[in-house]
């Protein structure tokens, strides 16, 4: 790598905030998806928005690609470095710049953790998007991935809460997209930026809307003989007009795994556990809670347990949140998927997943955000057994395609990144991908921002077609257009 580039990066970030040693860089070779690892040429940790601009400008001047990274907890390889490029780590930009409860807005830097926002506005307010990694994941990463979480069925996703962004574009210009206010004149470019997986620029300031914290919360878990039976209860709850704050489903394998870690005393022989949380005004909650309980009983729940206090509620949630890490107790390795299906197709898709798992001779645990049909199948395998990792990956891919065929999506909240880009053609046709590329080229005509992500095959940006202009040869009278 050009020595002058390194010198410019060093000048921008300071001597102690640049890594070029290959050994040190290994710390950044993967994000939360460890199957992929690439060591970048350099990693920088800028300490200000101005330093980010200087880094992006240096990369632009040298034609070097870059990848932005928040906390590195993403699960699609979206922050996977590129070998010839610079990794821009935003974890030092972790100031909450403004808490304005009068306007119900928070302005923060991208490295602030998700959980810090709710902490800053509590107890009267909260920030609803709550990915399971919220203790570590950063708001900048949430913006890149349009993160969801357990509460998004009722409250929506990151995109519903980001009102403004300060963005460094790949040409190193700084632009304000959106703001504190709603319906600003012009294109909804902050809406476009959220979920663009770091391919359109780097957000250096984020303005978020926060909302009043619910007056009260009640949580129950209902056990069913099968996920399909639990899924039926979900449909009936939603059809009754109840909008649970969260509604999560775990199957037998994931209950079993989580029990080994969280020990909530849930029946290990239950086919499924349905965790339902209602929040809202206390007066409404009692009636609604009773309604949900009777729907579960009518849907042949074998047992409904109500969390008696905050401590028991925490235990219920610990079971759900332990599902991913606990899988390590029952399987040496696992592969997480993030597909979405229309909720009404749940039973059919789950039985298809069972068939596919049986064919592959592997176990699949299912944990999902049942309200919005977002499945997280965990494909269990042993990497030490020759060929099993490949079989697991193939099975995971077949599950994704089964979900798309049922009218769903390849990813509900983890993003496309590198991991799912090969499935993009199962959801999108060539004109769709071409339109995506048009947008990307408008922001990043030179293709330096997070190259190799999202799109299934690498593409270059052509010249802006532009309105008809006279060719110089025409102007000189040397050629004529027919």
């Amino acid at each position: 790598m050009d020595r002058s580039l390194i010198a410019e990066l060093r000048a921008a970030c300071g001597e102690e905030h640049i890594l070029v040693d290959r050994h040190a860089l290994r710390a950044y070779e993967s994000d939360g998806l460890l199957q992929y690892a690439v060591v970048p040429r350099a990693a920088v940790l800028p300490g200000s928005a101005e330093a980010v601009v200087a880094v992006v400008r240096a990369c632009r001047d040298h034609g070097v690609p870059w990848v932005a990274r928040g906390s590195g907890s993403g699960l699609s390889g979206g922050a996977l470095p590129v070998a010839e490029g610079v990794l821009i780590v935003l974890s030092r930009l972790r100031r909450i710049l403004e808490v304005d409860l009068e306007d119900q807005r928070v302005v923060c830097e991208p490295g602030v953790t998700n959980v810090a926002i709710s902490a800053a506005v509590g107890p009267t307010h909260f920030y609803p998007p709550d990915p399971s990694s919220q203790i570590v994941c950063s708001i900048g990463g949430n913006v890149a991935e349009n993160s969801g979480g357990a509460h998004c069925f009722k409250y929506g996703f990151t995109t519903n809460y980001v009102t403004g962004l300060e963005v460094v574009l790949p040409d190193a210009t700084v632009v304000q997209l959106g703001g504190r206010e709603a319906d600003l004149p012009g294109y909804d470019l902050h809406g476009v930026f959220v979920g663009s997986e770091g391919t359109l620029g780097i957000a250096t300031k984020v303005t978020l809307r926060v909302v009043p914290a619910p007056e009260s919360v009640r949580t129950l878990v209902a056990f069913f003989d099968s996920p399909a039976a639990a899924g039926q209860a979900v449909s009936e709850i939603v059809a009754a007009g109840v909008v649970p704050g969260a509604i999560e489903l775990m199957d037998r394998l994931s209950i079993d795994a989580s029990e080994q870690m969280a020990a909530a005393g849930w029946p290990r022989d239950a086919g499924a556990a349905l965790l339902v949380e209602l929040d809202g005004p206390a007066s409404e909650l009692e009636a609604r809670f009773g309604e949900v309980t009777s729907i579960c009983e009518l849907a042949r729940s074998r047992e409904v347990r109500v969390a008696r206090d905050a401590a028991e509620r925490d235990v219920f949630w610990k079971m759900r949140k332990a599902a991913f890490p606990a899988m390590g107790r029952i399987s040496p390795h696992y592969y997480v998927q993030d597909s979405v299906i229309p909720r009404t197709r749940l039973a059919e898709v789950l039985s298809r997943i069972d068939e596919l798992a049986a064919e592959a001779g592997l176990r699949v645990a299912n944990v999902f955000h049942a309200g919005d049909g977002n499945l997280h199948p965990l494909v269990c395998y042993d990497g030490a057994v020759p060929g099993e990792a490949e079989r697991a990956e193939r099975l995971a891919g077949e599950i994704v395609l089964a979900c798309v065929r049922a009218g769903g999506s390849i990813t509900g909240e983890h993003g496309v990144g590198v991991d799912k880009k090969r499935y993009m053609p199962s959801m999108f046709e060539e004109p769709d991908l071409a339109a995506f590329q048009s947008l990307r080229c408008a922001f990043d005509p030179t293709g330096l921002a997070n190259p190799g992500k999202v799109m299934p095959t690498p593409r270059l940006c052509g010249e802006v077609p532009g309105p008809y202009r006279r060719h110089p040869l025409e102007a000189a009278g040397l050629a004529e257009r027919m």
């Binding site: 307010h125 632009v175 304000q176 504190r180 319906d183 809406g191 007009g241 809202g280 999108f428």
Partner: protein, 396 residues
């Protein structure tokens, strides 16, 4: 067929036909229900008017999934009637799209495509968001003659770029929205509104804001100002609506009524977002008192969505039939005064005579770096300027 302005009229019946028309028919003005045709700058040099009238089907209503696929030209009112038959609704209630309508524009009212393209919204914005927040997927005819889709048919999806957000509010300058997949919500069993009155705009806005900060789960929370008096309106839905409205009334500590038969009240809010000369102010909650005071001082009617700091001011003297240079001059002066007084809050002139909209920039200025980025997007999607050219300004 020719439009009122003597333009050729193109009426595609499929997205492919719409794309072919964009490619071949020269620059077009795009029209849905014709209720907001005047928003923004007048379009320049168009050869034809593209109408979505034959793209009017309800393609699918997946009641169990609370989603629907709707063609852009379907009047919102018709779509809502279909959803209501299944006990559901699209939680989007802009003017000209309600069950009774407000009579503006075409007889059928606003189309879903037009509502999304303009990013228009009504009181339900408070709880359910703007069109951008309810659109799951979009199919759009592009000026290069292709038809692209983005998003999906499920309520949670992050695959691909969110072109639906790009199209929502782009006022048809990047392509023609042909089909939309939307999220639906159950229709509540009943409503009740707490209505408080006040004669001090700032105290009224502060009372509204105090409610916005309580965990009440209102469906709508609005302000109104007319003459020398204003209202705070907090609407609650569901079986316990009355109880919740009563709690809001207690919290308001103002002279307060509970109104169960509240549909006319909210229809009144929507109606006040329309008029011959309406300005939309993107303020913040804490500035809404100033916005109401400014409306009062100008003799304007105002409605506001408290939690979003959004307000619509209907200026007096904007009579489209009797538009005269003198009236336009007075309105232009009023717009300028309001913009100066409410700065830096953007004030967008939504409706006004063509002469007025030529006289004052309807958008009120977009800062240079963002405008430059908008141009870059426009150049990629519509390099030859075929879609509503000039709506956002020269070359946009």
């Amino acid at each position: 067929m020719a439009s009122a302005a003597g333009l050729a009229v193109v009426t595609p019946a499929t997205a492919e036909e719409a794309a072919a028309a964009l490619r071949d028919a020269g620059p077009v003005r795009i029209r849905g229900g014709g209720t907001k045709g005047e928003w923004g700058r007048p379009v320049d040099g168009v050869a034809a008017e593209l109408r979505t009238v034959w793209l009017g089907a309800l393609v699918a209503h997946h009641a169990g999934d609370l989603t629907a696929v709707v063609q852009a030209g379907l009047p919102l009112r018709e779509a809502q009637a279909s959803f209501a038959a299944a006990g559901q609704r699209l939680a989007l209630d802009p003017p000209d799209g309600g069950a009774s309508g407000t009579g503006a524009g075409g007889a059928d009212g606003a189309t879903l495509g037009g509502v999304v393209a303009t990013g228009d919204s009504g009181p339900l914005r408070h709880r359910f968001g703007a069109p951008r927040d309810l659109v799951l997927g979009v199919q759009v005819a592009l000026p290069d003659g292709t038809v692209a889709r983005a998003g999906s048919q499920v309520i949670k999806n992050v695959a691909g770029y969110d072109l639906a957000k790009l199209m929502a509010g782009a006022c048809g300058t990047l392509g023609v929205i042909c089909e939309l997949t939307v999220r639906l919500h159950p229709l509540p069993e009943g409503w009740c509104t707490a209505v408080a009155r006040g004669s001090d705009p700032r105290a009224l806005a502060a009372a509204g804001s105090a409610l916005a900060r309580l965990p009440l789960e209102a469906e709508a929370l609005d302000l109104r100002w007319e003459g020398d008096e204003g209202l705070v309106l907090a609407r609650f839905a569901g079986r316990a609506a009355r109880e919740h409205a009563a709690a809001a009334a207690r919290a308001l500590a103002l002279d307060c009524d509970l109104v169960a038969d509240d549909a006319p009240l909210w229809e009144g809010q929507r109606a006040r977002q329309r008029g011959a000369c309406v300005m939309r102010v993107s303020a913040t909650q804490r500035r809404l008192g100033d916005v109401l005071a400014a409306a009062r001082d100008e003799g304007a009617t105002a409605v506001a969505r408290v939690a979003f700091g959004l307000a619509w001011l209907r200026l007096p003297g904007g009579d489209p039939a009797g538009a005269s240079p003198a009236a336009d001059e007075a309105l232009a002066a009023a717009v300028a005064r309001l913009r100066e007084r409410l700065a830096p809050s953007p004030c967008v002139l939504l409706s006004g005579s063509a002469a007025l909209r030529a006289q004052v920039d309807p958008w009120g200025g977009i800062d240079a770096p963002r405008l430059a980025l908008m141009r870059r997007v426009k150049e990629r999607f519509d390099p030859a300027g075929r879609c509503n050219p000039g709506r956002y300004g020269e070359g946009l």
